[in-house]
């Protein structure tokens, strides 16, 4: 079973690696942010799959934090301060 889970994780990992293309070519920050989002979501998948493989159930907490913090990152990306902030 582990090997199977691992191969699924490998596929997800390949997806992440492929996402690098989008990260590299952009062209807009939104695209890169999307790629980062993809890495987050796929990363959660990989982590969830790794948990049984490595026998570390606590990895699910990592996934939980990933999901919570993904929102923070996106929010930070889309917000801008009020005027008179050096820009």
């Amino acid at each position: 079973m582990s090997a199977f889970l691992l191969s699924i994780a490998l596929v997800l990992m390949a997806g992440i690696a492929a996402g690098l293309i989008r990260v590299a070519i952009g062209p807009s920050p939104s695209d890169r942010m999307m790629a980062a989002q993809l890495m987050g979501t796929s990363g959660i998948g990989v982590i969830l799959l790794l948990a049984p493989v490595l026998a570390v159930p606590a990895l699910i907490d990592v996934a939980l934090i990933f999901s919570l913090l993904a929102a923070v990152a996106v929010t930070a990306f889309t917000r801008r301060r009020l005027a008179n902030d050096g820009d």
Binding site: A24, I25, G26, P27, S28, L64
Partner: protein
């Protein structure tokens, strides 16, 4: 006179506290001692929640929820399949464009669920919300997105116990002409110019 939300809305406060306690239970599992930390943090979470979203008297309707979940899951799956089918076929089957839709839902929670759900439904993505106008980005402007949106809005309204005006008053305000994907690609998003502006 100012009343703390806990006292102003004891029912909402209790419900939310119970909800958070449940989440705590899910997170930690059955461990009585954990409530030493869990208690205060559930209280803190409840207080924060009450501060951040004003409790309203109308609340989640459980029966509608039972109907909404399967609907939501199925539509999400359809959405996923739809997009997968479009992108995995050798020839991209997309003709993106924006449409606008007047939303009648009032409460922020309902709007959040509505807006979020739009993005999970097949072919639509909520791109903006100005006043009551939702800008919906459609993957393929040739499909009819309005019908799906109307259905969704009705279900969300039911979920939050809101009543919607009659259908005739709240059809689409305006539909922007869908531009051809080729246009947009060449004009706006040129992959051949990695850093944006040609």
């Amino acid at each position: 006179m100012y009343r703390h939300p806990v006292f102003a809305h004891p029912r909402a406060a209790t419900l939310r506290a119970i909800g958070f306690a449940l989440v705590w239970l899910i997170l930690v599992g059955p461990d009585a001692a954990s409530w030493i930390i869990g208690g205060p943090f559930v209280v803190a979470a409840t207080l924060a929640s009450l501060r951040l979203s004003k409790p309203r008297e109308r609340n989640l309707s459980v029966s509608s929820l039972a109907g909404f979940i399967p609907y939501f899951l199925v539509e999400s799956l359809r959405g996923g399949l739809d997009v997968a089918a479009r992108v995995l076929l050798p020839r991209l089957r997309v003709q993106p464009g924006n449409q606008e839709y007047r939303v009648s839902l009032r409460s922020p929670e309902a709007r959040l669920v509505f807006i979020d759900s739009i993005s999970l439904l097949p072919g639509t993505l909520s791109a903006d919300l100005r006043g009551d106008l939702v800008t919906v980005h459609a993957l393929d402007v040739r499909t009819d997105v309005v019908e799906g949106l109307t259905t969704l809005e009705r279900r969300v309204a039911a979920l939050f116990g809101e009543s919607l005006p009659p259908a005739s008053d709240r059809t689409i305000a305006r539909t922007t002409a869908g531009r051809s994907p080729a246009d947009e690609t060449s004009a706006r998003e040129t992959p051949s110019h990695p850093e944006g502006r040609p």
